[in-house]
């Protein structure tokens, strides 16, 4: 027999998964995840149609840049806004949160169950996307080149790193947006503020940099973007002092846990006052 809180967490998880995966409100998140897949696959198909093959190294750099600049900072970011911010916020708007609050279940357990549901949804959606992007990008290079890259080159470790970073991004942004969905009425304002905060991260004093998600993710990306590439975006991703994974991974998880603990205090104090919303 499992301890009660595990049974209850699973019960919350089951109820929440229907919402995090299949909400009509969240349809655009799938489009967001699909966009880079379409981009890369389209590119490959075009090259194949013209019987051309791109420079492998160049493709790898493009993948790295799109991954860091678009996929993580915007795709996973807004995906987490859409899913995690609605975990509590959406139920206040639907006036259904009292259903949970009237069950003999600790509010902390509710929070964990909801967080896991959001996490499962975002991880499935965005790691699938990252995987498909990878396939799409290298499609036109042919199987021999790709299997060489995966087998004897560092392709496999890159792929694993990308998937790992995606998972960690979901954990990091998920915790942050779950918390802001509890603390704020209007989700767009904190989302905007956090977007700016994350973007200017490279320019912040070292101590402040640690209070952001991207700070940890940057160091874990397998290919650092060349700051001399000259584009505005590459400036954003300057990583002056990359951390080793054994610091970055626990660092990020610690950040997420701290944010969730703060959110749980807030949830404990939450009142059902639908009338005033």
């Amino acid at each position: 027999m499992n301890p009660l809180w595990i049974v209850q967490t699973l019960a919350v998880l089951r109820l929440e998964l229907r919402k995090t995966f299949f909400s009509k409100r969240g349809f655009w998140i799938y489009l967001l995840a699909l966009a880079p897949v379409v981009l890369f696959t389209g590119h490959s198909l075009l090259e194949m149609k013209n019987h051309r093959v791109c420079d492998f190294g160049q493709d790898t750099n493009i993948f790295a840049t799109v991954f860091q600049i678009f996929f993580i900072r915007l795709g996973v970011f807004f995906g987490c806004v859409g899913i995690f911010m609605n975990l509590f916020r959406g139920e206040v708007l639907d006036k259904s949160l009292h259903y949970y609050f009237l069950a003999p279940i600790r509010r902390e357990v509710l929070l964990v169950g909801k967080f896991l549901a959001g996490l499962l949804a975002t991880i499935v959606i965005f790691t699938s996307s990252a995987m498909l992007q990878f396939i799409g990008m290298y499609l036109h290079h042919g199987w021999n080149v790709v299997s060489d890259y995966l087998g004897s080159g560092n392709g496999l470790s890159h792929l694993i790193a990308y998937l790992g970073v995606t998972v960690l991004a979901c954990i990091g942004y998920g915790s942050v947006f779950l918390a802001s969905g509890v603390a704020f009425r209007n989700p767009l304002i904190p989302a905007g503020v956090i977007l700016v905060w994350e973007s200017i991260n490279s320019f912040l004093p070292a101590i402040l940099q640690k209070f952001s998600v991207i700070y940890y993710l940057k160091s874990l990306c397998p290919i650092q973007i060349d700051p001399h590439a000259g584009s505005f975006f590459s400036l954003l991703s300057i990583n002056a002092d990359p951390m080793p994974a054994y610091i970055a991974v626990p660092g990020l998880i610690l950040l997420a846990v701290a944010v969730l603990v703060l959110a749980s205090f807030q949830v404990r104090r939450m009142e059902i006052n639908y009338a005033t919303e």
């Binding site: 109820l15 259903y99 609050f101 069950a103 104090r269 059902i272």
Partner: protein, 314 residues
């Protein structure tokens, strides 16, 4: 195990910003059927939400069977709450609404299924259980909420206007259900804004008005308490002195005072209905009366509910 068998409010106040929800409430509710009665906005739902920890008191302390209301994991083992909120988790059927609650409670699938059907049967919703709640009528929603709040066998059942929207037959059945549950030693706390709807089944009544508990006790006691409590009525008229003399002759009048501005009379009476009738009589004899209005609105409105009198004639 619960520490005692009472629902206790100790000097509880709740403010929504500047708006008063309830003020300085002291109650100790024993098992049996207790009715919270008061007009719209008098604070019934506020008291019930406080009891279930959905809102926190601004001041004071509440315990249910000795359990603090900020411990939902303990509290809802013993408490079931059928709310006035008419909203449900999206896409649920009646069955899922009850079943999922039991899963949250910690029941395994088989047990949850069994208890769900039991609760649904108790409220006579077997036929509609597999349908989406979104398509339910008001009375069906009311009944499925009742099923959910009783499915886990609570010892304190809090019901916010549970008879709303029920047709007379179902209403009678539901009241009979409350009786049966109360006979088993349960607390049943029912709110209503119509006293005669609940007074026949209540062991005790708590009268609320504008956020205050104005009377409390066995139903007969409450009636006489209301009769003993003199009511103030302000009469605007052209010759208050003359009126005062006539009014004073009435035995139900406790006090009559000329209003500060000299243009009215403030009367305290134990029997408002008789007084209103008598006033009509006086008015026909020379004094021209502009207006008659209760000077303390709370008690008057509650009094009306209690006695069920018709509108006072003006």
């Amino acid at each position: 195990m619960p520490a005692n068998d009472r629902v206790v409010f100790e000097n509880v106040s709740k403010f929504y910003g500047d708006v008063l929800g309830v003020n300085k409430v002291n109650l100790s509710i024993p098992p049996g059927i207790t009715s919270l009665v008061g007009p719209n906005g008098s604070g019934k739902t506020t008291l019930m939400n406080l009891m279930s920890g959905l809102i926190r008191p601004s001041r004071g302390r509440i315990t249910v069977l000795g359990i603090r209301t900020d411990q939902p994991d303990e509290l809802f083992r013993y408490l079931g709450y059928c709310t006035q909120f008419d909203s449900f988790p999206k896409g649920f059927t009646g069955y899922q609404f009850v079943y999922s609650y039991l899963r949250l409670y910690g029941c395994a699938h088989g047990e949850a299924e069994e208890l769900t059907w039991k609760a649904i049967e108790r409220v006579g919703m077997m036929d509609a259980a597999r349908r989406k709640i979104a398509g339910y009528s008001k009375g069906m929603r009311q009944r499925i909420k009742l099923a959910q709040s009783t499915c886990h066998g609570p010892s304190v059942l809090v019901l916010d206007e549970p008879l709303n929207g029920l047709d007379p037959l179902v209403r009678a059945e539901t009241i009979a259900l409350f009786r049966t549950l109360a006979e088993d030693g349960m607390h049943i706390i029912i709110s209503s804004h119509i006293l005669h709807e609940v007074d026949a089944i209540s062991d005790q009544v708590i009268l609320l008005s504008n956020g205050y508990v104005v009377a409390e006790g066995k139903i007969a006691g409450v009636r006489s308490e209301m009769q003993d409590h003199p009511m103030q009525i302000l009469i605007r008229c052209n010759r208050p002195q003359e009126l005062a003399a006539k009014v004073f002759a009435q035995e139900s009048v406790v006090e009559a005072q000329i209003h500060k501005d000299g243009l009215g009379l403030l009367v305290k009476t134990r029997d408002a209905n008789r007084f209103y009738l008598m006033l009509n009589h006086i008015a026909q004899n020379g004094v021209s009366i502009e207006s008659v209005a209760p000077a303390d609105d709370d008690v008057n409105s509650v009094y009306d509910y209690l006695i069920g009198s018709e509108e006072p004639q003006k």
